[in-house]
């Protein structure tokens, strides 16, 4: 029955000849983009979560500026907004990742991961789509929060290059943290209390960094931990890119953290994703 093969595409379905092998790079890329679109649609339609990752951080920024602005400003001699804006951007990225990890666990429970796994699509497409969606979400929330910061006095004083650098740092940090949370989500048992633990970790990181209070204001025994936890070099780098200051040492630290987190979580994430999909 040769006529079928020659028939043109109907109802938007590509003819068989156009279908790429599911393990090919082309299929992976195309399907990743489609599934990224799905992830972003799901995120946009989830209004309470949108409030949590946009409105709450903007309000937190305002709170920190109003409540701690004068105290921290007096202690450091610099406008606290240059620490607060990066802090809130990174915190928003972290809490957004926790939400995505929760959603992944829900989709695993409902069997959606299993269904995607048996479709003729690239095995890595859905996972990379989730990570890409997180990167896009981190970029969009950074734009919104920088705009809110502008209303409170935050400025790019070093030109266009460093300004773009701020967004790159935010997206890199957000993506690395998303990899970590997704890896934890797919490797933990379905009923595990993932949200409280990740929320606790994010909250602790949020208060113990140079954006909340200068490092030398922390107790001596705590200062090395605060100075070297992932958020502090990222905040210091973003501050330097906005208002000037040494960049290289913090850039190296941020790069190390991002690379280490990504490398350490990629294999467990992919393996856990496979197990989560077939284990239902």
């Amino acid at each position: 029955m040769t006529a079928v093969a020659e028939r043109p595409a109907q109802d938007g379905v590509a003819p068989a000849a156009d279908l790429l092998p599911e393990s090919s790079f082309g299929a992976w890329w195309r399907q990743t983009l489609i599934l990224t679109g799905r992830q972003l649609l799901v995120a946009v339609r989830d209004v309470p979560t949108l409030i949590q990752v946009l409105i709450f951080p903007a309000l937190t920024m305002l709170m920190f500026k109003v409540v701690l602005g004068d105290v921290v400003g007096s202690a450091t001699g610099m406008d606290s907004i240059y620490g607060t804006v990066p802090l809130v951007i990174l915190t928003s990225a972290m809490f957004g990742s926790v939400v995505s990890a929760t959603r992944l666990n829900m989709e695993r429970k409902t069997g959606l991961l299993g269904r995607l796994y048996v479709l003729p699509i690239n095995r890595g497409a859905d996972f990379t789509a989730r990570v890409l969606a997180e990167s896009i979400r981190a970029l969009l929330t950074t734009i919104c929060l920088v705009a809110a910061g502008f209303a409170m006095g935050f400025r790019f004083t070093q030109g266009i290059g460093p300004a773009i650098g701020i967004f790159v740092v935010a997206v890199a940090f957000g993506t690395a943290f998303a990899m970590l949370t997704l890896a934890l989500a797919v490797n933990s048992r379905p009923g595990a209390p993932l949200v409280p633990y990740l929320g606790l970790l994010s909250s602790l990181l949020m208060f113990f960094n140079s954006g909340f209070s200068p490092v030398d204001m922390y107790p001596g025994w705590l200062q090395p931990i605060v100075a070297n936890q992932p958020m502090t070099p990222a905040i210091d780098l973003m501050r330097a890119l906005a208002v000037g200051g040494p960049v290289m040492s913090n850039l190296i630290k941020v790069t190390i953290w991002v690379v280490v987190l990504t490398v350490l979580t990629t294999y467990p994430a992919l393996r856990g994703y496979h197990r989560a999909a077939v284990g239902r």
Binding site: V66, V67, L68, S213, M217
Partner: protein, 278 residues
């Protein structure tokens, strides 16, 4: 099977059982159910973690910074807001439990059972009271670990008696908050909406209060709001109690805010109960 046969079999009797229903026993059973739920959810652990985290997250980073701009012992200064955080935790916990029961249809099921409509509410209140007492004890332990101590009468404070009055004030506000939160849980559409409704005002009022930093450290344009909002009034009354300077004029705002919370809670309870009937 004739009517006579049916009457002869006691287990097949229609209508309510002959024995009198004891509302006190019903209240006890539902209270135990609530406490077991609290225990299973690990809320007693979080009752300690909640104030402990607040103490860690604000005391350690800000102790030096605040000491530089205001000559105060920050451990002594933070005590009221840490105790209030314990009370706020109980409120959010109460709201979530009430909302979850609503979502699972528990409230509606209780309404069609042969028991007074007030029993489930009283049982939830008893559960919340026990959790509040545990949370306040945990809050006090946290404050003591942080370095807070009741200021003795010789040093110009009110000693243990002042501390007891301060804790009683938090208890009063905490119970009002818990009842309000329980009402919000009854009325709200979902647990998610409930958590937002309870967390949002607590976050804003908590941060924009004199609980964390003195009034003169706020920008001038917001000082009026900060000074007169409820959490600032409660923390002020608690500090006055601890220092032995509490009189009716200083206590009145806290009492009125508490009364307001109880009134709002009553209104929410009526609305929630009517909704359950429908």
């Amino acid at each position: 099977m004739t009517a006579a046969t049916v009457a002869a079999v006691p287990s097949m009797e229609l209508g309510p059982p002959k024995g009198r229903i004891n509302p006190l026993q019903q209240w006890w059973v539902l209270t135990v159910r609530g406490l077991l739920k609290v225990l299973r959810n690990g809320e007693f652990i979080f009752a300690f973690l909640s104030p402990a985290l607040l103490a860690i997250c604000f005391y350690l980073p800000l102790r030096k910074a605040v000491a530089e701009v205001a000559t105060i012992d920050y451990a002594q200064y933070l005590m009221p807001i840490i105790m209030l955080q314990s009370a706020a935790f109980v409120a959010s916990s109460a709201a979530m439990r009430s909302a979850m029961d609503g979502q699972e249809g528990v409230h509606t099921r209780f309404r069609v059972m042969p028991m007074p409509a007030v029993i489930p509410f009283l049982a939830r209140s008893a559960t919340n009271l026990v959790l509040l007492l545990v949370a306040l004890a945990c809050g006090l332990v946290t404050c003591l670990i942080m370095g807070w101590r009741p200021v003795s009468v010789e040093d110009g404070g009110a000693g243990v008696a002042g501390a007891a009055i301060a804790v009683a004030l938090v208890g009063m506000i905490g119970m009002g908050l818990a009842l309000c939160a329980d009402g919000i849980g009854l009325v709200a559409k979902s647990p998610e909406a409930t958590s937002q409704l309870v967390a949002f005002p607590t976050l804003i009022l908590g941060m924009l209060s004199t609980g964390f930093i003195p009034l003169n450290q706020f920008p001038e344009w917001i000082r009026g709001f900060v000074q007169y909002q409820p959490i600032s009034q409660v923390t002020k009354a608690m500090r006055e109690a601890l220092s032995g300077l509490l009189d009716w004029n200083r206590l009145a705002p806290t009492v009125w805010w508490s009364a307001g919370l109880f009134v709002v809670a009553a209104i929410l309870l009526v609305i929630g109960t009517r909704r359950a009937v429908r």
